[in-house]
């Protein structure tokens, strides 16, 4: 990189790389009034006491500054890893025998369900995908992204992660309103049309949620369904990661079908660990895990999809009953069945 600390002034640095100003303040380096000096001169002019008190190491700071500018430049210019398809090549079961399939290809916009008993190796499969395994994980599987293994740099990029995760245990922990929260996420992603994106996520999330919420609702007081709706809309629209791993979506307060449709419409690859038949049948395929490896790969058949309609009917009955309960109505089974 062409940044000469001896020649470039602080002002020129900030003009060329506006985000460098933040880096000075993030590292508590007071640069006010020194902007006309070269970077080296300015750093030499900082009071010794301040350097000691704020635990500043000028040499480390210089190295980090270059690294930071390089990183920020790549945020603006680098394309996110686009995964049009992922291919999983077989590794080995816990007993050392080879996995029972030739290769598994998953394309963007597909929904794949992962089923299997606890401890069967579901997490390992998800971790292999997240890590883009290259025969270097316990299963010795290979995961190809667009037909190729990832380079080390791509594997470790914190900003360009391959996989976004959504699970039932996840909660919002920040003390922010929905709007502040979306603004913070959008800012960290350096998106251009921030306001439009925030509006879009907010609308989509409300469309998914059973009960609507407002922009000034604190995220920590959202209901379970509302939280999940906001997380899904936010992940679909604002997360760079092309693959979304979902660990169940609870069947309350959120339209799960619409949620999956939203993710798929944003060209995500959706991998969903679930034992809920309705969710499982919304998938294109399901992977059955046993003994530490992939045991079978089953395409969702038309017969199964027909069951889906019936299951959805049952689901609707439950949904209506829940709503009746919520609004103080009397529950009657026969009536609901007839209406459904």
């Amino acid at each position: 990189m062409q940044i000469n600390f001896k020649e470039l002034t602080i002002l020129e640095l900030f003009n060329n790389y506006p985000y460098a100003r933040d880096f000075f303040s993030e590292n508590f380096i007071p640069i006010e009034g020194l902007e006309h000096l070269t970077i080296d001169e300015a750093l030499e002019n900082i009071d010794e006491d301040i350097i000691e008190d704020r635990a500043i190491n000028i040499e480390v700071f210089k190295v980090h500054l270059l690294e930071y500018i390089e990183m920020m430049k790549s945020f603006y210019t680098d394309e996110a890893i686009e995964a049009h398809n992922i291919t999983i090549l077989p590794g080995f079961y816990k007993d050392g025998s080879k996995e029972n399939y030739d290769e598994l290809e998953i394309k963007s916009g597909e929904i794949i369900c992962i089923v299997g008993p606890t401890g069967s190796g579901k997490s390992r499969l998800l971790a292999d995908i997240e890590w883009a395994a290259n025969k270097d994980t316990p299963t010795k599987r290979t995961v190809l992204i667009n037909g190729k293994t990832l380079e080390t740099k791509e594997r470790f990029s914190a900003s360009n992660k391959l996989v976004a995760q959504l699970s039932q245990n996840m909660n919002f922990v920040m003390d922010l309103t929905v709007e502040e929260f979306l603004d913070l996420h959008a800012s960290s992603r350096l998106v251009e049309n921030k306001d439009d994106i925030i509006k879009n996520i907010f609308d989509k999330a409300n469309d998914l949620a059973g009960e609507t919420f407002k922009l000034d609702t604190p995220i920590t007081s959202l209901s379970g369904g509302q939280s999940r709706a906001l997380m899904i809309a936010d992940t679909a629209i604002l997360s760079k990661s092309p693959i979304v791993l979902i660990d169940e979506i609870e069947n309350a307060g959120i339209d799960r079908k619409k949620a999956l449709e939203l993710l798929v419409s944003e060209e995500k690859i959706v991998l969903m660990s679930t034992h809920d038949p309705i969710l499982a049948l919304m998938g294109d395929k399901r992977i059955i895990i046993n003994n530490g490896g992939i045991d079978k790969i089953v395409d969702t058949s038309d017969e199964e999809r027909n069951i889906l309609h019936k299951l959805e009917k049952l689901d609707k009955i439950m949904f209506n009953m829940r709503n009746k309960l919520r609004y103080g109505k009397k529950l009657e089974f026969e009536e609901e069945i007839e209406n459904a």
Partner: protein, 234 residues
Amino acid sequence: MDFITISGPPSSGKTSVIIKTIDNLIRRGVKVGVVKFDCLYTDDDILYEKIGVPVKKGLSGSLCPDHYFISNVEEVVQWGQAKGLDLLITESAGLCNRCSPYVKEIKAICVIDNLSGINTPKKIGPMLKSADIVVITKGDIVSQAEREVFAMKVQSVNPKATIMHINGLNGQGAYELSTLIYDEKANIKTLEGSKLRFSMPSALCSYCTGETRIGKAHQLGNVRKIDLGNYNAN
């Protein structure tokens, strides 16, 4: 023998991350030992014993834990060698944000958690800013967006670090970490002559030597006063 230092704020998940990582190293036949540093109390040594690795603990008591750590690190390295370890790990809690436990040329890992708040990366000094690898834990209980923002905040105070997300409960990510921290070619025999990456927090005042009384008359040495600005009594 290879040697790595792992630090992080209290309760960030250091021990869980280390144990899950050691599991993976043991499976590869690597002989690992741990020395746990803490302040007043720890029973983490029992957890390490349970997984069958040689472990020692050191409690700093009334001393600055950082100073205690660095005064003993050479002895610890000698212990590791005598035990015939392939990899020696020290674990120390960063009890103040000015902690600076890393040694030049020795791999340094900082463990922090997603629950600690997005301003925490900025508040932690050399322990985070000069680490080679930053492990972020507890990602399984916060939203994707919060994970992304938190990792970004870490990256903006330490752009050089490799950032890893590890789930200390189920070990997701620990295998991957185990491939990064151990170099079988490393041959660390002594730290004699090695240097800290950054000076440690310092103090030398009457309270350092056991003074308990409050008031100017009892304050000697390196004392600094809070700046409350000019104000009038009501």
